[in-house]
């Protein structure tokens, strides 16, 4: 076979595969406009986030802020803060809005704040900024970007050297392509629906109707075409109402921006004694970088007359010494020395009622945080 012929066949096959996978990946997703739908969410309800990408999830909430005006307090953090629901502790979304993004850290929180600043939509009083717990699995994201924001945020607001912006855009484009072609969005997109009968749902749902452990409702009643056909032909038994991990929980955004669903399967198992931490992924000297990035955010607040408070949520664990902790200790102490306000809650690690699980704190923790904020 000649090199030219080989090249043509190879590239054509890749193209066909790419288009096929990309089509399957997009199949069934976003059948409606989630941004418009989010405005109709009422307290006690969620906008189901099936098929909504991370960069859209933040835009949905920011769009609402731009339309309806900013809240009194804005909470900016990673997925660890996603269940900090103001609604659950009696506040409204006008009081506290949660702008969590899955793996966000300081550099991208700064970008989101600049976007809000440019649109006169910064929280009216207080900007609450999550600092990653040094023992959390995403600790290194505290100073590194994760490219989960809308692409124009980086181009417009990253305020970094051009080389950084180019790097961000290239990596983000890569992340988008990986996401589009990835197994999760293709194979699972097919088998979740027709094969397993999970029937991805969209739109608004009451939190009480959600479930994190079962197909919703039992698979046989759904549109699982292949499964239903096999059952009708007597080739397959009707499944019992059992946990179907492939379906996953129905999760979504509450009106206050937090993530809501029934959390019956969440457990808060304390870290066993002596569980080793992986070596600190951050280079020595990163404490200074943490403080530098905190300064940038504090400056945004100062410029606009807003109070900026950094907080480190606790992890449900037994005491553990680590280089990581020492690094954050250094950063916190230096930041306080420079006049920044930091609430360090690492020592709340024993208070079981503050946790849903080892890393996820509950709205009770938010109450605690807000109480401390008002002191």
């Amino acid at each position: 076979m000649t090199a030219r012929r080989y090249l043509i066949i190879y590239l054509s096959a890749i193209l066909v595969l790419g288009i096929g996978v990309s089509t399957l990946s997009g199949w069934g997703s976003d059948p409606y406009n989630p941004r418009t739908a989010f405005r109709d969410v009422k307290p006690g309800q969620i906008l189901i986030d099936n098929g909504i990408k991370e960069w859209d999830r933040i835009e949905i909430r920011i769009d609402k802020t731009l339309d309806e005006g900013p809240p009194r307090i804005g909470l900016f953090g990673s997925h660890v803060t996603q269940y900090l629901s103001a609604e659950e502790i009696g506040y409204s979304d006008n009081d506290v809005m949660n702008y969590f993004v899955m793996h966000i850290g300081l550099p991208e929180i700064a970008i989101v704040l600049r976007h809000l600043e440019a649109n006169n939509a910064l929280p009216k009083e207080t900007i609450l900024v999550h600092l990653h717990h040094p023992h959390s699995p995403n600790w290194e994201h505290i100073i590194y970007g994760i490219w989960e924001l809308p692409i124009f945020y980086y181009v417009k607001y990253s305020r970094r050297r051009i080389s950084h912006t180019i790097r961000d855009v290239v990596r983000m484009a890569g992340a988008r392509m990986r996401d589009r072609l990835g197994l999760e969005n293709t194979l699972f997109n097919i088998i979740d629906g027709p094969v397993l009968g999970c029937d991805a749902q969209h739109g608004i749902m009451a939190v009480d109707e959600t479930s994190d452990v079962e197909p919703k409702p039992p698979a046989v009643k759904q549109n699982g075409t292949i499964r239903k056909t096999l059952i009708a032909m007597g080739l397959m038994k009707a499944p019992r109402r059992v946990f179907n991990p492939a379906c996953g929980p129905t999760t979504g955004l509450r009106r206050d921006g937090s993530s809501g669903f029934q959390r019956s399967s969440f457990k808060a198992d304390i870290v066993p004694d002596g569980e080793a931490l992986k070596p600190n992924p951050l280079a020595a000297g990163s404490a200074a970088e943490i403080v530098r990035q905190m300064q940038g955010i504090a400056e945004t607040g100062r410029r606009n007359g807003r109070r900026v408070v950094f907080f480190v949520p606790p992890i449900y664990e037994k005491p553990r010494e680590s280089d990581r902790s020492n690094m954050l200790d250094m950063a916190v102490s230096k930041a306080r020395g420079e006049g920044m306000q930091v609430i360090d809650h690492r020592l709340l690690r024993h208070e079981r009622e503050l946790f849903f699980s080892q890393i996820y704190t509950s709205p009770r923790y938010l109450r605690r945080l807000l109480t401390e904020l008002n002191r």
């Binding site: 090249l7 484009a173 072609l181 280079a283």
Partner: protein, 453 residues
């Protein structure tokens, strides 16, 4: 930028290849250089800055000092800055930990310590040093075309994890592509190596790593679990590094450049000495030519072997575990040297098995500190049952059998580097399928292990 990322495979590479073939021949090297610096600069500004400056220094000093190049003082001056940068960015932290346990000096060096290790700094430093030493020794002429030298030092397929090239291996090829109007790239082999390398990385190295790190053997594992962990490390590191090298060979072929094979089925070696002639071949030969022979070679075999392997250990990483790993391999090679006669009487498969076992016992040091390594090895040799049930089940062992079969039951000359066309294994549809499947699994991919070196 990693080879196993969407931005590399679907953005950077197509643009680079297209630009390379649409410009006039004399601009091709410029395109390659620009692309290589962009590729490397994607990791960080400081990494790009160091690379560019090292190239400027080495190329410049070779270019301007024609009469002094055979002077040993010139050589010291020429190689000092690249090795100083290597020391500062790779070994300073380790050195401070060793000599300054109370961290009194550390704060003075924060301005350097705050930077992460620039990827592949060991590779390009060695490559550039080999050029300077060869020029000094009169083995190659100093390069007068700065583009040829710069592309030699920064050629992106091999920049970060090798193979470590000698100048004479690339010089004529670079001059050829800058002059030849009608290039004839070997696309079939190029895409074959890229697709197989990508699949090796994603489906063997990365998946196996996921299985392997599911359990902490020292916490309740039995000896069989420890054996699994050790064997898994062996195949993970081989398929990780070989995948990178294979992709590098394929990528270079897209630009009509031939790179040497860095791995010659090393796990089929019949002795530790042979292993090092088949594993990371270009590093072994670099150490032989520029360290071993320079310090006397066979005149003091045991001492020089010890020095070379300790250097090899340190080259791989700044840590006691790497130093011990290098010392361990020195011991293996020296022990084989001393017992080569009785060793030679053993059947071939016994030699291969023993060599593989001993080499495998060393690999966990690449991933673990000395204490963790000690815990793993003590579980392995305690010949004990697990505290409850075995950590690694049938599925894990079955998956481990796949790389084992590829390594021991196939011959790469027959299916990967074969001369005769195989309708299935050389088919573009097969390679496209393999590439497509790998692209779907990119989310599970990890950084190449050798990026940290």
């Amino acid at each position: 930028m990693n080879f196993n990322t969407a931005e590399f495979l679907l953005l950077f590479l197509p643009v680079q290849v297209i630009l390379f073939y649409v410009v006039r021949p004399r601009f091709r090297l410029f395109i390659l250089l620009l692309g290589s610096i962009f590729f490397y600069g994607m990791s960080s500004d400081i990494a790009g800055f160091l690379l560019v400056n090292t190239i400027l220094w080495a190329g410049g000093i070779g270019y301007i000092s024609s009469k002094m190049i055979h002077n040993s003082g010139w050589l010291t001056l020429a190689i000092f800055p690249p090795f100083l940068l290597l020391f500062l960015f790779k070994y300073l932290d380790f050195t401070l930990t060793a000599v300054d346990p109370n961290d009194q000096l550390r704060s003075s060096f924060q301005f350097i310590l705050k930077y992460a290790l620039p990827a592949g700094i060991s590779f390009y430093t060695f490559q550039i040093a080999s050029y300077l030493i060869d020029v000094h020794d009169g083995k190659v002429e100093r390069e007068k075309n700065p583009l040829v030298f710069a592309v030699f030092a920064a050629f992106f397929p091999q920049l970060i994890a090798g193979p470590i090239l000698r100048f004479h291996e690339l010089r004529d090829q670079l001059r050829f592509i800058a002059a030849e109007r009608n290039l004839r790239p070997d696309f079939p082999r190029a895409f074959k190596f890229i697709s197989v390398g990508l699949a090796y990385k994603i489906f063997l190295a990365d998946v196996l790593r996921r299985f392997q790190e599911t359990h902490d053997v020292s916490a309740g594992g039995g000896s069989l679990d420890a054996a699994y962990a050790v064997l898994a490390y062996s195949f993970i590191i081989y398929f990780d590094f070989w995948a990178y090298s294979l992709m590098a060979i394929g990528l270079a072929k897209l630009f009509c450049i031939e790179l040497p094979r860095n791995f010659l089925e090393p796990y089929k070696s019949t002795s530790p000495r042979e292993f090092w002639r088949r594993w990371h071949v270009t590093l072994s030969f670099w150490l032989r030519d520029y360290v071993y022979l320079k310090i006397g070679g066979n005149t003091a075999y045991i001492r020089n072997i010890a020095i070379v392997f300790l250097a090899c250990g340190l080259w791989h990483g700044a840590g006691w575990n790497f130093l011990i790993w290098g010392g361990y391999h020195a011991l293996l090679v020296i022990a084989h040297h001393l017992a080569r006669e009785p060793w030679g009487r053993l059947p071939g498969f016994v030699q291969i098995t023993i060599t593989f076992m001993f080499v495998s016992l060393g690999w966990p040091l690449f991933y673990n500190g000395i204490e963790e390594y000690g815990a793993l090895i003590s579980v392995l040799f305690a010949f004990q049952a697990p505290t409850d049930t075995a950590q690694f089940g049938y599925g894990d062992w079955l998956y481990l059998a796949i790389p084992a079969l590829i390594v021991f039951a196939t011959r790469e000359d027959r299916w990967l580097f074969n001369e005769n066309y195989n309708r299935f294994l050389d088919s573009p549809l097969f390679h496209a399928g393999l590439t497509g499947l790998s692209l779907m699994f990119l989310n599970f991919g990890r950084t190449f292990i050798y990026f940290q070196f």
